[in-house]
């Protein structure tokens, strides 16, 4: 057993021997890790080390592409995600992408409620209004957009769009939110708003965030994974990892020797 990998008791999400390959090219190699509930866990590592690949395995997005092969097990609250229907799994795991991607034909309101509407879930207008307001409040966007809910989501600024996308992911009350470098396309002000937001959101949700920005990981994450060439090199409390990295590769990365 690798002693640089923290063993987590009662993880909400438990990843065991997960490998993902693009055709024959293995991008995530035999990763085993437990994710702690109501915490922010950062996935760090140099570009191309498999961070996104690992994250996208967790809501089975890889299944859209025939050339991607996934092995291993992942359990969410003890339930094997590969045995669930992908639809059920994806409602329990919200995802936020690198570039803000609100649905361009939809209003702000419809973007937030898209998960319900497009799933054909019938609701009273009042119920929908409540979900929209709660989700937008959760991402601190309500006051900025409450008078323009019928405007297209794409009219918002980049940072607002990304918060709208987070609201869209929160509308279904997922257990976990997966974010793939959610601030890499944003300016510093918008970035810090989203960082503050994630810190408050962890009270309700479990957050897993890919970042190649070390200071961001240091600022907001409780736990960190460090990946290198598809392998999980080190996993532990973020504070410990930054002050006292166990693996030489982690140390070299954190001190800027590569990346």
């Amino acid at each position: 057993m690798n002693t640089n990998i923290l063993q987590v008791k009662d993880p909400i999400l438990s990843i065991e021997n997960l490998s993902v390959a693009y055709d024959k090219n293995v991008a995530v190699k035999d990763v085993s890790v437990g994710i702690k509930k109501n915490n922010v866990t950062a996935i760090m590592g140099p570009s191309g080390c498999g961070k996104s690949t690992l994250l996208r395995a967790l809501n089975r997005l890889h299944e859209l592409y025939e050339n991607i092969h996934t092995t291993g097990t992942v359990t969410l609250n003890g339930e094997d995600i590969f045995k669930m229907s992908p639809i059920k799994l994806r409602r329990k795991t919200g995802m936020v992408f690198q570039r803000p991607n609100p649905f361009p034909t939809m209003s702000i309101y419809d973007n937030v409620i898209a998960g319900y509407k497009l799933n054909g879930i019938s609701q009273k207008k009042q119920e929908r209004d409540e979900i929209v307001e709660r989700s937008l409040r959760d991402v601190a966007l309500w006051d900025e957009v409450k008078d323009s809910l019928t405007k297209k989501g794409t009219f918002l600024s980049g940072g607002q769009q990304q918060r709208l996308c987070i609201a869209r992911a929160l509308a279904f009350n997922p257990e976990i939110i997966l974010l793939d470098e959610p601030t890499s396309a944003l300016d510093p002000v918008a970035t810090s708003k989203i960082e503050d937001l994630l810190i408050t959101l962890k009270e309700t949700y479990t957050i897993i965030m890919v970042t190649h920005n070390m200071s961001q990981a240091a600022r907001i994450s409780d736990y960190s994974l460090f990946m290198y060439l598809g392998e999980l090199v080190e996993y532990g409390k973020t504070k410990n990892m930054f002050t006292n990295p166990q693996d030489r590769r982690t140390e070299e990365y954190l001190t800027g020797k590569f990346g």
Binding site: I87, R90, G94, F103, T105, A114, L118
Partner: protein, 292 residues
């Protein structure tokens, strides 16, 4: 000495520029003049005949036309049977070609490199190159002889629909390819089933692209004559029964051409057809422009 040669050089460049500009203007004029000549000729010869009655009355018979010409009057009647026949057949063709074309386009987009998709794409491309008269012939063999047991609007629509298909397939695939992959992923990541992502997100996002393809396909088949001769045949009355022979604007133009008393009707009918086709084309352009 050096300065002089440089001025010479500039002068010769200016001359070359002028020659080139002249050529560009000349070729542009050559390119646009046919369309201007056609339209001005159609207007000159056709406008007299073009009235409200022309749009709502049936074609006159040749004796009426002869009498009118003898009295130096306008030919009475109109081409409403042709207008309604064209509308009937184009709508019917669209009802078939639009859903089939869009679904095939979606299939090609989702299965880019699979052999079935490659085969389908090639066949669709070949179909685009099949002369329309051959499509008319096939529709004659299949629909006229075996389905409606006689010339019919349905047979005409079938030929037109087959013509529209490859254009719609192509434009659907190309439109979907331009939509960022992450929109589809974002939809699926919300736990929305694929077909709802398709109809709720992808198709609305690409709507103007799909619309452009459809409008161009319609404007392409509206003027088709040859396949209709072998299938819809034509009719001097208003027909709404899809199993019966039916008129169409281009079929009427051909009939007028063959009747010395009806010559004046050729121009007005052609003018109307041209206006309709142009309207579709310009709308398609407008829709495509709004996308940006």
């Amino acid at each position: 000495m050096k300065v002089v040669s440089e001025i010479d050089n500039i002068n010769s460049r200016i001359r070359k520029d002028r020659v080139f500009l002249g050529l560009v203007v000349l070729f542009s004029v050559i390119t646009v003049s046919p369309i201007i000549l056609i339209i001005s000729k159609l207007i000159e010869k056709g406008y007299k005949q073009l009235s409200f009655g022309f749009l709502i009355e049936k074609t006159p018979d040749t004796m009426q036309a002869m009498a009118a010409i003898a009295n130096n009057e306008l030919i009475p009647g109109g081409i409403v049977n042709g207008i309604l026949g064209t509308v009937l057949m184009v709508v019917l063709a669209s009802v078939f070609a639009i859903p089939v074309g869009i679904i095939t386009g979606v299939y090609l987009y989702e299965n880019q490199e699979k052999w079935m998709a490659n085969l389908t794409r090639s066949i669709s491309d070949i179909l685009q190159g099949v002369p329309s008269i051959v499509l008319g012939l096939i529709s004659y063999l299949w629909v006229v002889k075996h389905v409606t047991n006689g010339f019919s609007a349905m047979a005409g629509s079938f030929a037109l629909g087959i013509m529209m298909l490859p254009m719609i397939v192509r434009s659907t695939e190309e439109t979907l390819k331009m939509i960022p992959q992450t929109l589809k992923e974002a939809g699926l990541a919300l736990g929305i089933p694929y077909w709802r992502v398709l109809f709720g997100i992808l198709i609305p996002t690409g709507f103007s692209g799909l619309m452009t393809g459809i409008l161009l396909a319609v404007s392409r088949v509206i003027g088709e004559t040859a396949p209709l001769m072998l299938t819809a045949l034509g009719s001097s009355v208003i027909n709404t029964n899809i199993a019966k022979p039916t008129s169409a604007i281009p079929l009427l133009i051909w009939e007028f051409y063959n009747d010395p008393n009806m010559v004046d009707m050729i121009w007005s009918s052609s003018l109307l057809l041209m206006i309709i086709v142009l309207a579709f084309n310009l709308t398609a352009k407008q829709v495509a422009a709004n996308r940006k």
